[in-house]
């Protein structure tokens, strides 16, 4: 990966789809499952995480030559915790309802392995601009995945999307989707879909290379 110089846009795009933090890398699962019971909560959580990710990536990247190697993990965690505290108070100021719905999970962004993972794997080795783009891409990819989960769970479990009624009154809510177990099932469903796409693509590539080798032979 490091052999080809990549533009900022590439760093941005990869987080959205090819290296999507939730569906492909399966990182940061706790908030993904816990607060995705409605689309609104999921989106808010996703954006909060994206903000922390971008900011911590920028700071870690700009301080990368000053941080001693031995204490780098502790330093990263302190930087992340600072921004999470900011977000915590920000959400509390903007919408108290949202703050109550998300609860302790805003604080728990600190231990989201995705953020620490990006700081360690990317921001500590790359320039500020590229780290910011990487954080933005990963963050939006994370928010997108959370939204996918939240939307499915809200539509099936409550019959609504962003609290707007979608179905006729006779629709029977799938209560299990709102409950914790629904989170596991929905995420399993999305992973199945992604696995299926991946396998189909691999099969096609395999078939096309076989076809090519036949032609050359």
């Amino acid at each position: 990966m490091a052999t080809l110089p990549k533009s900022g846009t590439d760093e941005f795009i990869k987080g959205l789809w090819k290296e999507n933090p939730v569906f492909v890398q399966v990182l940061g699962m706790c908030p993904v499952l816990a607060v995705s019971n409605t689309a609104m909560n999921a989106l808010a959580m996703g954006l909060a995480t994206a903000f922390v990710l971008v900011m911590s990536n920028i700071v870690v990247s700009s301080l990368r030559s000053f941080i001693p190697k031995q204490v780098r993990i502790a330093t990263y965690i302190l930087i992340i915790a600072t921004f999470v505290t900011v977000v915590d108070y920000l959400i509390q100021a903007v919408s108290l309802d949202l703050y109550k719905a998300l609860g302790a999970f805003i604080s728990l962004i600190v231990v989201n392995c995705l953020i620490l993972g990006r700081a360690e794997a990317f921001a500590s080795k790359n320039t500020i601009a590229r780290s910011a783009m990487d954080g933005l891409g990963m963050g939006i990819g994370f928010a997108f995945a959370l939204f996918c989960l939240g939307a499915v769970r809200e539509i099936l479990g409550n019959g609504t999307l962003f609290e707007a009624q979608l179905f006729h009154d006779s629709f029977q809510n799938w209560v299990v989707m709102i409950l914790p177990s629904g989170g596991f099932f929905t995420l399993a469903g999305w992973l199945l879909l992604f696995n299926w796409f991946k396998q189909r693509k691999a099969r096609r590539e395999h078939a096309s290379t076989l076809g090519l080798s036949k032609e050359t032979a």
Binding site: T85, V111, S181, W196
Partner: protein
């Protein structure tokens, strides 16, 4: 919240509101190290131990932060203390019981980034538990975590031999099992109240 009996707190933390299956805390080790029964139970023991220690520390910090009127430092000081506690515990175990240290191995340092630990510290301060209640809460949460991890590992060991479609192998399968376990644990609802 203050007058909850100790037994209620324990049942609540371990079964009814199981940290893994109801609060989704500590999912990473839950999915990561739950493929073998033996490692799962060791991991459970290590997490319970760290939970206990960090819960006691968090109680002290909270009292201190209230005293100096600096609630915005809560998160930063919690995570810093948990990280250093894990490190201390690691050194302590290494000195006192090398056998135990070897059996816990790599799992000890990894516990720092386990959200169940930080979650426990935050929940207990939110609920305003007393010192004894905190200890019982930590023990209950640890027991619940261990139970979930061991159950999961047992199921996954059996599934190694089962024939499943290629697409479902790996994380997707683990998540579906976790979902079923979570449904089963919902049966405990109302037990401790």
């Amino acid at each position: 919240m203050h007058d909850e009996s100790l037994w209620t707190i324990f049942i609540n933390a371990s079964l009814v509101n199981n940290f893994v299956l109801a609060y989704f805390l500590g999912i990473c080790p839950f999915l990561g190290v739950s493929s073998k029964l033996e490692t799962a139970s060791r991991m459970g023991a290590a997490v319970t131990f760290v939970m206990l220690v960090s819960s006691i520390c968090a109680f002290g910090i909270q009292a201190l932060l209230v005293a100096i009127n600096a609630p915005y430092l809560k998160l930063i000081s919690f995570i810093a203390v948990i990280a250093s506690t894990v490190q201390l515990v690691e050194m302590f175990i290494k000195k006192v019981s090398p056998a135990l240290f070897r059996s816990l191995g790599i799992f000890l340092p990894l516990i720092t980034t386990n959200c169940a630990i930080l979650g426990l510290a935050l929940f207990q301060t939110n609920k305003g538990y007393s010192f004894v209640q905190c200890i019982v809460y930590a023990l209950g949460a640890g027991a619940g975590f261990t139970l979930a991890l061991v159950l999961m590992a047992g199921l996954r060991e059996k599934l190694e031999l089962a024939e499943v479609p290629e697409v479902t192998r790996g994380t997707a399968m683990a998540l579906m099992i976790a979902g079923l376990l979570s449904v089963a644990f919902m049966g405990f609802g109302g037990l401790g109240s």
